[in-house]
Symmetry: C2
Subunit: 499 residues, 2 copies
Amino acid sequence: MKRISASFLPPIALAYRSKTPMYRQLYDWFRRAIIDGQMRPGQRVPSTRGLAAELKMSRIPVLNAYEQLLAEGYFETFVGAGTCVARSIPDDTLSPQAVKARKGMQEKVGKLGPRRMSRRGAALTHVPAQSWLDNLGAFRVSLPALDHFPIGIWSKLVARHSRRPPRGIMAYSDAMGYPPFRDAIAEYLGAVRGVRCEASQILVTTGSQQALQISAQVLLDPKDRVWMEEPGYPGARQAFMTAGAQLIPVRVDHDGMNVAEIIRRGPDARAVYVTPSHQYPMGMTMSATRRMLLLNWAVRSGAWIIEDDYDSEYRFGSRPIASLQGLDTDGRVIYIGTFSKVMFPALRLGYAVVPKDVVAAFSAARDAADIFSSTLYQAVLTDFIREGHFARHIRRMRMLYMERRRALVNAIQSQMGDMFEVIGAEAGMHLVALLPPGTDDVAVSRKAAEKGISAIPLSTCYLEPPTTGGLILGYGGANAHQIHDGIRKLRMSIQDQIA
Amino acid sequence: MKRISASFLPPIALAYRSKTPMYRQLYDWFRRAIIDGQMRPGQRVPSTRGLAAELKMSRIPVLNAYEQLLAEGYFETFVGAGTCVARSIPDDTLSPQAVKARKGMQEKVGKLGPRRMSRRGAALTHVPAQSWLDNLGAFRVSLPALDHFPIGIWSKLVARHSRRPPRGIMAYSDAMGYPPFRDAIAEYLGAVRGVRCEASQILVTTGSQQALQISAQVLLDPKDRVWMEEPGYPGARQAFMTAGAQLIPVRVDHDGMNVAEIIRRGPDARAVYVTPSHQYPMGMTMSATRRMLLLNWAVRSGAWIIEDDYDSEYRFGSRPIASLQGLDTDGRVIYIGTFSKVMFPALRLGYAVVPKDVVAAFSAARDAADIFSSTLYQAVLTDFIREGHFARHIRRMRMLYMERRRALVNAIQSQMGDMFEVIGAEAGMHLVALLPPGTDDVAVSRKAAEKGISAIPLSTCYLEPPTTGGLILGYGGANAHQIHDGIRKLRMSIQDQIA
């Protein structure tokens, strides 16, 4: 057994005034010396008494440090032979040279590192930076009027549920969600959206995005074909790509997704993703005829329909359009919705209504994803709905957004009528402003983001090369002044870009 | 154009005392009649005046219903020709026969439905029911002592943050998490767990389960091989299977995962999943030697190490063991932790510490999964940590769990010393009780669940056929009385099963 005298130890530097306890500093020093190869396997370490004397400190921290190093296997002891660095510590790659080489590698990691991400992971990394999502200024899409949220009522309900929480609010809960909340959602969807379901079919999710991803996991195998609206919602695209699906774009026109094209191009698709109440981003409504044709196609070809009803609460000209799910008698439709827009985004609550025979799979997929949603907000929102605050808030916001939409359309017409063609302003919390042919909408959005304005480039919603550029402008979170000022800055951004 | 007189309409049944408005009842009736084929495409509908007179009601609800049916495309109008059911509505599959057939199919859905789930979805459905997770009684694994949680302090912090929330607490936020919370986590992990990282490397997740699933998505392609501890944590198994990975079991012994076996069986693995501080479920600590051998292997074979440090806060005999991540100089380790056990499970907050060069991919994967975590609890927990409540709570719980562990070990020795062999009782919030050879632990757990006792069968932690049955018994959430009573009920369950 190799014995090296304690006097060969590299100098031990201790910080006597540090908050880190002395035993911990000693432990760290020895561990580092072993890992870096400055102390070698089998090397003898000083006795606790000797080291304490040498360092002029009490023996207790030295004893504690040694005990920990023994417990973790860095040191070993032999009766009569004292303590040494464990001989089983690997020796080969831990020489100073190896450490030096590894430190060099560390600095260059990502270029040199031979370890690989998955194809999914690599694809996710190649999404270009979306600087227009870095601010919460005018025209951030999906941002509601937070300053009009009844925060007083809400925080009273939060306090009610967090002061003396029942065990159920703190412990593990059902992967499908908090049962009273699921009851409230089922009632609301039945009354307002024409959704036909029982509470047992409701899966509570972290926003609609998680509902999309879980649907993708349960329904789609890698390489499965999915029909997507073109242009369409990039969040759905991300969720389906994460499952390895192959996305096929289908153009939308004034009646929504072109169902005839789906029927013509063959039945070999596993699913179709559709926003029939209010197409994202273009804003049209899918006609009744197309809804029925789509359902018939799904029945004939054994496909699923993923209906994303993301903001149908706000419709100005006419009443809300009933859901596609309500027409479905074959359990073909997964109906997805969210509270991010009606309440506030950081609530992180959405839902999927799933056919009864796939409830077990959705529940298990949620369990594998992240077990369940935090219970507090589910309980608070249940009361908010049951006590009538929810319906009242939606009514108020509908009036407010109607005004804001008018302010935005007016501002565009008076300041930029020559540059923008407005479409899809009958519902929801956003509209689309088409740019003159040839304008690079991504460049415009980047310039606008530098001025604190958030405008999503329409081209990012296309799978194929887009025919025209445009900007998606949300008006939920911007008041009249911000809208006016925002349009002024947008005009400057476009002029910068064209010049 | 086919014209059918209004007198051919099926009878319209209206509920005059219903809460559903009259226009809505009329709308629903017409829509249903069209969908079910009782009204055919091109069929003329009565005039609003005529129908109102026939139904003895005001004309306004009839006008509203017609307007909605026109807007959605169920009706169409022609100048001089009145209103009829839209002729573009598909006719073929909507005959009464077809509807009847579909209704029959609906009842048998899941058996007959030709639509398919993904292989993932089908595999998830075949997980047998885990009745032992249906209750929160003694020995629910991972359940902390909720009645000892400082709920007064916590709810004051919740109230502070929800009364006048800054915009950031309600709006969209960073996919990586709330920045002050990430700072607090980085400091905590550096000081207590020896993790070397910057706040920018911290991804806040919905519990550690989401950290596992996102790691799987970013790092693993379908069919990639992953070394798993045997026995090991079923939640990790689920997360990796969802990504399509192939799981290879590696036995654990008294020093943790058998790293020599990993080295011997070849370098063609993409990742290894390991719980080095406190092996789940068996409770041993991975030795320093094996940690270094594992890191060296990962460097040589281009593999990732996923270190799950799920409950290292509670260690009774010795101080907490420093993390494997702290030894890593090559960016090989994804370090995962959770607040579910130290705080409470419904908090749903965990984290992953990821190497710098894969931060962008983890962030994008989180965005695709569910965008971001609700901000309120992140802000509240930041204050809870900064104001010292967190460290104090951990210290108190360490004392409490030490007592509860002793109570459990004593109860087992006095009541069931002949049936149980206890292992892994030096740390954490659970221990393993091995059953006599040949005992069916799943059957025992099911019997115990009927008595309100939660005991996870050890065999569910194995990928290969287990060599011995056992029960995983959590003692965090059970007081002395519940422990005593629980062991009595467990003994009865075992006797029932053996008898």
